[in-house]
Amino acid sequence: MASIFQGIGAATSISSSASFDTMKLQFSSPRSISGKKANCVVMRSGGAKMDSGSSRNGGRADQLVTNAVAAKADTPAASTASKPGHELLLFEALREGLEEEMERDARVCVMGEDVGHYGGSYKVTRGLAEKYGDLRVLDTPIAENSFTGMGIGAAMTGLRPIIEGMNMGFLLLAFNQISNNCGMLHYTSGGQFKIPVVIRGPGGVGRQLGAEHSQRLESYFQSIPGIQMVACSTPYNAKGLMKAAIRSDNPVILFEHVLLYNLKERIPDEEYVLNLEEAEMVRPGEHVTILTYSRMRYHVMQAAKTLVNKGYDPEVIDIRSLKPFDLYTIGNSIKKTHRVLIVEECMRTGGIGASLTAAITENFHDYLDAPIMCLSSQDVPTPYAGTLEEWTVVQPPQIVAAVEQLCR
């Protein structure tokens, strides 16, 4: 059983920077099954570094992130200068990860609408076209299905493209290519062709963007066999997941969130790559397991403050990997707390929460003391009006109420 630090409790420290004070850069040997990751530290969830040769149980959770909410008002300005690492915003972290990978491997290229000269609609690719040229950072015409297919064809013939959907919702137009070609070609070709693409883009409910720009596509893509889905939520895991996704030989869909691009955090200077299939322990606790991802993580952490004041001790896990689920982290947590609350931004019907509920029921039913509660967005096209929009997504008071009900 993985050891979990409990004493650190509710101290709010800046993100994962606490764990890096004691971290030494070292070349860690890869796990038996992973590939060649000799040059950088492979960070396991929450910043625990991997010891060479250690089993999964021993290597995990040496140092946990206690409160991974990226600092908004909590950062005392004076303390940042002396800490190692550098501070940046989430979209800059994505760009850093992307740039490092493009530097490392000349076959990595970017294609999408306005990624080149415009620098990306959320500035994730700013400056890259000037540095790498128009062919490597390709401004495509507005033809999602075709340029996604083009990226897939390029991946089959040796390149490693990153396909950007200006908004995740636009990738609905590319569903044919994503489902049929991206997910299936490795299998139907009998393993002859691999599709190492990364499909990324901002999704989620923003600030009054209207129904069509506020879609959550993770629910539509999740049953496509052959693809992996990850959702980033902090600058730290954004960069790590971006790098991991690019290095992965599988097609990976990286979900970013429109409202999280300006989160600031201090991330390490050293190169690091996160594990695509792992979940992140945000806050260890005893009473209830709260599973969440992307923007809802922050609503949950906000609710967690209230809950702590009321005397509850929630364990918050950012599942990060939407497909496949990290049932190990989740299972360990459930075995400890026996109560599960899922908080997600997906719709109620057929969303990630629905799948997660099914997976947990299947695997950990005996460990549950209460039915699984799942808080999702309403099955409503996101309204434009601010008040209505607020009511379609899960808000912290609802989370507090749900925990209180679960722990009764």
Binding site: T148, G151, G153, T157, T188, G190, G226, Q228
Partner: protein, 501 residues
């Protein structure tokens, strides 16, 4: 409906000469149509006389247009073609009036001792806007090659063998299907062999081919062994895709066959991507000699699909080394091309996007080969994509499950008379490139190859359960971490195909 066999329209800003001299023949019928209706006259007519002359001129037009009605197809190879300039109305002044030329389809081939049959049909087009005016009749063109013939003996035999392989293989597929050895949707290529052999035999091994569900013969032409294809059709583990793809998903990494796609149009972006890689390798990775070309084969139905147009745009925009080959067999299952398409002349869609559009007789392998040489040469030189429309026909139904009731038996008979294999055999024999005996020997050899393929496929094992979960992910860690903490793919039952994922 007969198609005019020519033409290429490049964009008006491109004036490319292919080194061909055309001789304008003033005696052609076309000169009539070039006359303006109301020429400037040096003197004035009185109105009644003018009216009479006007009616007379109309009568002359009517007479000449009658001569432009479609004539019966000539089963022997036509060696001259008429050239058409832009068929847009004369009011679009941005278009140049000088016809652009595409070498492979517009030159007339050097006169041989055998008589030349000229083929002067045009389609009668209903709208006046699309009425193409015949401008010139090419009667004498100087070719650069020294030989009179289009293929050498070796090339001819190679192409013939390939076409016979395609035909015999597909016939065997039909037999095997009805014997219950293969299931599902099987789409046969009988009748269209000229397109596959005409194009693919000119490619190198590194060039890529992307096809649709009618892909058996494309895979065979590209070099995938008949054994591998037949095993794949039988669903055996020795198939080119380990039995996991089937008839509609023929892939070969070794021979650069990028599929085999079940949905029409979804292979075209993949082909565009392969061409993009070729350009990327040359320009970003600095592999200066990378001139790999990609061929995308698809049908007339696909030419109405959005992905087709989107890729035409991108390929022309970035000058990708790709050739879009439309195998226009006039039928998309039961939907006639003419009922589905506003402008049935698919080659015209090329110039709209800034690339050459060529129409060629797809039942004649040598014509296809000439056009293909030109298009592939263009792509290799970095001049960009080409759209080639091959007028062809499938002798069988859309698939083996198609009763094929809608097609007119006369139409089928007409095209059967233009069987590409018979035509080419005749060409080889008449031009002394091969003897009957040699061709018979090839046919016998192919029969043996296909028989052997069937035997091999029969004897091959079906995939075991262990194959179920392999190949879903290139990196099987994608199945995730199980409740016990280890990756699902590390579960010993994973290789047995029984692991919970």
């Amino acid at each position: 409906m007969q198609f005019t066999p020519i033409q290429l329209y490049k964009s008006s800003t491109d004036q490319v000469s292919f080194g061909v001299e055309l001789v304008d023949s003033p005696t052609s019928q076309s000169s009539i149509a070039q006359r303006r209706l109301f020429p400037d006259l040096p003197f004035s007519f009185s109105p009644p006389l003018f009216f009479i002359v006007f009616i007379f001129i109309l009568y002359l037009f009517h007479f000449s247009f009658q001569n432009l009605q479609p004539t019966q197809p000539n089963p022997t190879m036509a060696l001259t073609r008429t050239i058409h300039p832009h068929s847009l109305p004369p009011l679009t002044s941005s278009r140049s009036t000088k016809p652009s030329l595409f070498l492979g389809s517009t030159r007339s081939l050097l006169p041989t001792p055998t008589p030349i049959h000229s083929r002067n049909h045009t389609r009668s087009i209903s709208s006046a806007q699309r009425r193409s005016a015949v401008a010139a009749n090419v009667s004498d063109v100087k070719l650069k090659s020294t030989s009179d013939l289009l293929v050498t003996k070796e090339e001819g035999l190679e192409v013939y063998e390939d076409m016979i392989l395609g035909r015999v293989f597909e016939d065997m597929c039909a037999q095997m299907y009805y014997r219950g050895k293969m299931f599902g949707f099987v789409h046969l290529y009988n009748g269209q062999e000229a397109v596959s052999s005409g194009f693919i035999k000119l490619l190198k091994k590194e060039d890529s081919v992307v096809s649709t569900y009618r892909d058996h013969v494309h895979a065979l032409s590209k070099g995938v062994p008949a054994r591998a294809v037949m095993s794949e059709l039988f669903g055996k583990t020795t198939g080119c895709c380990r039995g996991q793809g089937g008839s509609m998903h023929m892939f070969s990494a070794e021979h650069n066959v990028l599929g085999g796609f079940a949905f029409i149009g979804e292979g075209i972006p993949v082909a565009t991507g392969a061409a993009f890689t070729s350009k990327y390798k040359r320009e970003v990775l600095k592999e200066a000699d990378c001139d790999h070309v990609t061929l995308a084969f698809f049908g007339d139905g696909t030419a109405n699909n959005g992905q087709f147009f989107e890729c035409l745009n991108m390929a022309a925009l970035w000058k990708l080394p790709i050739i879009f080959v439309v195998e226009n067999n006039l039928w998309a299952i039961g939907m006639s091309h003419l009922r589905a398409t506003s402008d049935p002349e698919i080659w015209k869609k090329g110039p709209a996007f800034g690339m050459p559009g060529v129409h060629v007789d797809g039942m004649d392998v040598l014509k296809v080969r000439e056009v293909a040489k030109e298009a592939i040469g263009r792509a290799r030189r970095g001049e960009g994509p080409t759209l080639v429309e091959c007028e062809t026909y499938r002798f069988r139904g859309h698939s083996l499950a198609d009763p094929d009731e809608l097609r007119d038996p006369d139409e089928k008979a007409r095209y059967a008379a233009r069987d590409p294999i018979t035509q080419f055999k005749k060409y080889l024999i008449e031009n002394k490139l091969a003897s009957e005996a040699e061709l018979k020997a090839i046919e016998k050899k192919i029969d043996e190859v296909v028989e052997d393929a069937v035997e091999f496929a029969d004897e091959s094992p079906a995939p075991s359960r262990s194959q179920l979960l392999e190949n879903v992910f290139a990196d099987p860690r994608g199945f995730g971490i199980g409740p016990d903490g280890s990756y699902r793919c590390e579960d010993p039952k994973f290789t047995e195909g029984t692991a919970q994922v």
